[in-house]
């Protein structure tokens, strides 16, 4: 009886839709839903043949790679120094964590405003320095824009995990190394960095998942997948094909592909957590 509320909610809004997605992915219907035809795996074959889908995959790959690498790199540097600082550590932490609270779409709007080709402050500065910047026309600029916005928003999350990881490393280890004459640089690479590897790996998975799924708001607000389709990540494409282009079958097939990716990522993560990389 106690389970009833959760079971009702998840079966209604989780299993039923997920099942529907599977069924729909095998069907083809016209835009008004008047006729539905079973087409087997045709939707998947179409996806496989569809160049724009492959491109979208590539876009998502590049995007998540940048987000993960930049986000993890920058936050590791910040966390390392925050761990060193004794005075004011809490203030720095407070000042660095709040972007977590900013909605992706709001982050997208804010960055769009900063980098808007005609009125943005930063794009003005860039142009003044001699960089051509136009996120509306140049797809590289558009990609850079959403990567920056996504990294900015995810920074606090990575930062907190690295900081927690660094603080859980026993001080005695670092002291011992210092007595043996290892400098700060050497200590970081031989002690702290290897001991952080579980955290880093975990964050890598989380950041990829984040870049795949939670950045829809940023993309929609900042670039709308444009220019052309150059920043249309997979989730954006599911939304666009399903709700704007009304290709329900194709969209459902894409959902299924996404589900498989998430499940795979989750399995990787759990495998890893069970084993725990130890040194």
């Amino acid at each position: 009886m106690l389970l009833a509320p959760q079971l009702v909610v998840i079966s209604l809004f989780f299993f039923w839709p997920a099942g529907q997605a599977l069924v729909q992915s095998l069907q083809q219907s016209d835009a008004f839903g008047m006729s539905v035809v079973w087409v087997g795996f045709e939707n998947f074959q179409n996806l496989y043949k569809d160049e724009s889908y492959a491109e979208s995959f590539l876009t998502t790959g590049i995007f998540s790679l940048w987000v993960a690498v930049l986000g993890i790199g920058i936050s590791l540097v910040l966390a390392y120094f925050a761990d060193r600082v004794v005075r004011g550590a809490l203030i720095y932490r407070t000042l660095l964590i709040w972007p977590y609270a900013v909605a992706p779409a709001v982050a997208g709007v804010v960055w769009l405003f900063l980098f808007s080709p005609s009125i943005g402050v930063v794009s003005y500065a860039l142009n003044a320095m001699g960089f051509e910047w136009n996120a509306l026309l140049n797809s590289r600029d558009a990609m850079a824009l959403i990567v920056m916005a996504a990294v900015w928003k995810q920074l606090s999350y990575n930062f907190l995990f690295f900081l927690a990881g660094l603080q859980s490393i026993p001080k005695s280890l670092i002291e011992a190394a210092a007595i043996d004459g290892a400098g700060a640089w050497r200590r970081f690479w031989t002690i702290q960095f290897p001991l952080l590897s579980p955290t880093s790996f975990f964050l890598l998975v989380i950041n990829v998942v984040y870049a795949f799924f939670d950045t829809f708001g940023i993309v929609d607000a900042a670039t709308k997948g444009g220019p052309g389709k150059d920043t249309a990540i997979l989730v954006y494409k599911v939304y666009f094909d399903g709700f704007k282009a009304l290709d329900l079958g194709g969209s459902a097939a894409q959902s299924v592909v996404l589900m498989v990716i998430v499940v795979a990522l989750t399995v990787v993560q759990f495998r890893f957590i069970e084993k725990k990389v130890n040194y």
């Binding site: 997920a18 600082v85 769009l112 920074l155």
Partner: protein, 283 residues
């Protein structure tokens, strides 16, 4: 501190200050833009010091009395919608997961493991992945443009259940036995022992879920077609009508500030639980 190294100390503070500045810069510009008139904002380059139209812009955003080309709905109303949604999601999730975690940990019943796995798989798929079909279910149930439609599908995931399960398993058996000897039934035990024990976990989860709920974008974008039901995050998007000249950037930025403040306050005000919640839910 392991060694005294003046130089590195300075570097540390320097890097951190730089980090804070970079992180804060976008929001500073947003704030500045929200205090100028529209003409001042669209000038190139826009002024970088706060202007004098703070009250005017915020009042105009909150009340919705303006005539731009984008959406002109009242932001106060939207913030209300966002708040209700975020609270419903936070409390709804905590309530149902508390109950089901209790059932899974303390009762032996047939299909216990099956139920456990059913809940477990929901962890894997975010709403974004199953938007199409979920939308259909919600519209079949007639829940478009309603709070139920906005929140229920987002409650349907199991993060919180796992956190509570993990926590309940650390509660010593002696407590259960003591409660039984004192003649407390299972519900009594739940109410008087487990719930008070898990208050910190609940606080931690509350912060995370509140932000999650407040920041939802894709889902509300689909289920709300009526301006009265826009959460503030959607509202902002609708105000940008395309074309830099027509968009009232000062109002948009004022709204963006308003949309950021409540979750930021929750994060900073409940920092301790926030950090705990973040670390616990993901492990």
């Amino acid at each position: 501190m392991i060694e005294r190294n003046r130089f590195l100390d300075w570097v540390s503070h320097g890097v951190l200050l730089l980090g804070v500045a970079v992180v804060a810069f976008p929001v500073y510009v947003t704030f500045v833009a929200s205090t100028h008139t529209m003409q001042e904002v669209v000038q190139v380059p826009m002024p970088l010091l706060p202007g004098e139209h703070f009250l005017e812009n915020y009042a105009s955003a909150l009340l919705g009395d303006r005539n731009g080309s984008g959406s002109t709905a009242s932001v106060a109303r939207m913030m209300g919608v966002s708040l209700v949604c975020a609270l419903l999601i936070a409390f709804g999730k905590i309530a149902i997961s508390l109950l089901s975690a209790f059932a899974i940990v303390y009762f032996k019943f047939p299909f216990r493991m099956a139920v456990f796995w059913m809940i477990f798989v929901t962890l894997m798929l975010p709403v974004e992945v199953r938007i199409g079909p979920t939308y259909k279910v919600v519209s079949d149930l007639g829940m478009l443009n309603s709070f139920a439609g906005l929140t229920l599908p987002l409650i349907a995931s199991a993060t919180a259940t796992f956190l509570f399960r993990q926590f309940f398993m650390t509660v010593p058996d002696e407590l259960v036995e003591a409660a039984r000897i004192d003649g407390a039934g299972p519900m009594r035990f739940f109410k008087d022992v487990l719930v008070p024990l898990s208050v910190t976990s609940m606080a931690a989860l509350f912060v995370i879920q509140f932000i999650y709920g407040w920041n939802q974008y894709l889902w509300p974008l689909l289920v709300t077609t009526n301006e009265n039901m826009y959460p503030v995050v959607i509202g902002i998007k609708r105000m940008i009508s395309g074309g830099d000249a027509q968009t009232e950037w000062n109002i948009v930025m004022a709204t963006a500030m308003l949309a950021m403040v409540p979750p930021a306050m929750v994060v900073i005000g409940m920092q301790k639980w926030f950090v705990k919640g973040l670390v616990d839910t993901e492990k």
